[in-house]
């Protein structure tokens, strides 16, 4: 199997793009692919603490993220520059490691497949 990088660059609640990306990442993991998830730009809002999707009758995105390790998706990164730009204090319990832009360059270069061009 190839190694897959899923990039999420949209915020979680206005559209279902981020949810659908996550579903695809979980399916790749079920296929025993090596899966990495990177949150960048508005995608970093996914780590905002105290989300409560039920306030708008939606699922809570942070809970979907928390399920990733159960699918053996354990390489979880978030763009540090994007966190700073949006002043997001990532919920540490979600286990996303901040990553520099230089490291993101190397991560993309070393991936067989990059999924996440929508945004």
């Amino acid at each position: 199997m190839k190694n897959y990088l899923f990039i999420i660059s949209r915020a979680p609640y206005a559209s279902s793009h981020a949810f659908e990306q996550l579903e695809a990442a979980m399916v790749a993991a079920v296929f025993d692919a090596s899966v990495t998830v990177l949150l960048r730009d508005e995608g970093v809002w996914a780590l905002q603490p105290r989300q409560e999707g039920s306030a708008t009758q939606q699922n809570t995105f942070a809970k979907a993220l928390a399920a990733l390790p159960a699918y053996e998706v354990e390489q979880l990164y978030v763009c540090r520059a994007s966190l700073n730009k949006h002043s997001v204090s990532a919920d540490p319990s979600l286990g996303f490691e901040p990553m520099s832009l230089a490291a993101q360059q190397r991560l993309i270069d070393s991936s067989d497949v990059v999924i996440g061009g929508q945004s």
């Binding site: 695809a24 399916v27 790749a28 692919a33 061009g117 929508q118 945004s119």
Partner: protein
Amino acid sequence: MKYALAVHGAPYSSNAAEHALSFIEALQACGHDIERVFFFHEGVYQGLNGQVTPQSLHDNALQARWAAVAAQGIELAVCIASGIKRGVVDSAEQERYDLPAATLHTDFTLVGLGQLIAAIDNADRYVEFPA
């Protein structure tokens, strides 16, 4: 080489279909194989069966071009999870959920997300056309 392609944009919301179709035509001219075209996110709307191309755009009738791709045995695979929640359903799903009509064009087929991963894994290249 073998290519897997993904289309993420709806008609008239992005150039995703035009880009993908012209790219497919060029791939075939170069002798490449296409493992599967996967329609994900809003890309599922490409498969709606009632689209009427405006007269002013008749040279760019997307569904006629998709039909030509399908006629060559290339699978036009609509993500079933993305599709049914948006109202893009084949006759099997129409029956299952007791819906008024099948809305998926017969050139397209509903498949699971696993078919995206399988296509990519079998292919040498993956190219994504975003919304």
